[in-house]
Amino acid sequence: MAKMNLLQAINNALILSMQKHPSAMVFGEDVGHFGGVFRATSNLQEKFGKSRCFNTPLTEQGIIGFANGLASQGSYAIAEIQFADYIFPAFDQIVNETAKFRYRSGGQFSCGSLTIRTPYGGGIAGGHYHSQSPEAFFAHVPGLKVVIPRNPYQAKGLLLSSIEDPNPVLFMEPKRLYRAAVGDVPEEEYTLPLGKADVVKTGSDITLLAWGAQVEVIEKAASMAEQDGISCEVIDLQSILPWDVETVCQSVFKTGRLLINHEAPMTGGFASEIAATIQQECFLYLEAPIARVTGLDTPYPLAHEKEYMPDHLKTYEAIRRTMDY
């Protein structure tokens, strides 16, 4: 065990993967000698050489195009997109290529050994081009897996699983926790299952669901609610695609209430999919409408960041409204 922050946990996972797989390569903008703008790839070039950890030209569509080719050749391609806000130039390569590679070839070729890492989310005074949470776009793309960790321990285990998984994985890192989240992390290799939610805290009155940096927000709201005698079950979804309907359903069967929190705008955000599925699966158990506490339907604003964010207070209020329904 070692104390690591989220960045160190990721760096550590990358080192272990590169040691294990001689064909594992890490690349992206500034990831080489510099170690990435957030330093997640620090020392990889020094350790594994310039041919296995390298800067690319500044072209996200090129990075993912290259990564698709490299993965289809059989290598472990680990690509970094510097900010999730800049993943959109690569949207075609991801949606039309990465995700459909295996299906269209009847399983002859695939990008299964591709992992795309990208920092996402707000809370860092980054405005609308350094704060977006685009997970919902990718949740609508069959063939991809989408994974988001909430702390260093999850980050390392889930990233190692993502790299090992024989499917392309988009691994989104909550950048406001990069240095803020610190915890005990085993130094050796370990994996955490993809597609499985994590019940962070059990409770009986209402289920609170989030992922990434918002998990601590719902935990905080849960503490507030407990003071009012409301028992909250807190779940970290962890995998956005495929997601763990089973665990969420089990919880809602018990609590009868569900609140989902995410940073992205409400309309078409991933909470909509969860709400649509759960109202279907748990219809007769629901005692109140499923609540969504999310960003506004606007670009992510700078000056009004605090007001935009689905914080613990908004969550707490929504818990109250749901309980009082």
């Binding site: 030209p57 490299l70 993965a71 050749q73 070839s105 070729f109």
Partner: protein
Amino acid sequence: MQNRNHLSNVKISHNVSVIENGLLEIPMLQLLNEQGVEINPKKVKFFDRDTAQKILNSMHYTRLLDDRMIGAQRQGRISFYLASLGEEAATVASAAALEPQDMIMSQYREQGALVYRGYTTQQFMNQMFSNKDDPNKGRQMPIHYGDKALNFMTVSSPLGTQIPQAAGYAYGQKMAGQSAITICFFGEGAASEGDFHAGLNMAAVLNCPCVFFCRNNGYAISTPADEQFAGDGIASRGIGYGVKTIRVDGNDVLAVYSATAQARKIALEENCPVLVEAMTYRLSAHSTSDDPSGYRSKEEEQKWAERDPIVRFETWMQEKNWLDKEALEAYKTKTREEILAALKVAEKISICEIDEIINDVYDTPPWHLEKQLKELKSHIKKYPEAYPKTAGSNK
């Protein structure tokens, strides 16, 4: 190569000199003139008679296949087809200059390369009839071939996407220590996509052993080359990327072969990309959904019909006494029959059973796909007449 650093070795001038594209002339390699006469003074031996024969046969095969499939489409037997009439030299002779271990990424009009690699008639037909023997499992439109065993990447419709992929694939081959390159075919239209830029630049910077083979055939559907770019073709872009570049007469088998062989050699030995621009012409319609009479003249087509790459090559073979006309006729007859027979077989083979609808989305279907399949299957059981192609195999 010039020093890559952003300022060293730069020449200084003291007057505003505007660089125009006219400054650079990129010649086109031709080894057989329009009459099929060899004009390389050195009389290099390119390939042996067997290879020549295989190239010629593959070109004929491609044309016969195209011809038959356009017919089949008109008869409503397949939904779509896309011919390569006039471009057979570009696709067949380039494939001939490669090694079997080289990966071919094609755009879609490179059936000639696939023929040369040995894709069987039945494989072609199974793909086009989307039947259950198609290795793509009938998931893609006709002409989206692919065969891992032949190192031929499955065709993908979105244009240009293969170009950066080729760089990545080649990088992987290099890292794995293979003596192999990746060739990526694309049209001059696809070269307008951002992915072209990304792919060439990355390949150059990251020293990827690949050949970017552009078929500049004058049109992208209805859009003529002069509404596609304003520079001197695609070759002139190579300079900007620091990529070695060869322009070649795409209707000249010898030239295409030589250029590709040379490109492959450079790519492999120097670990770098090479851009080849083959100047040719899409004599056919863009596809069976297209009618070129709306956007180009019969005269223009006629001019190019006279530059037939097969005729040119046959003239050369004849000159070398390598052309056995009788054998060729026999080959063509046999091929025609073979195509017809395979077509008849393929159209009778059923499509994949319904379970395949969820396979290969992931390595194994996650629970939500299993659930969707289960619901679908019980629905089909309820309405078998509505889903006649799968009701039979629905268990």
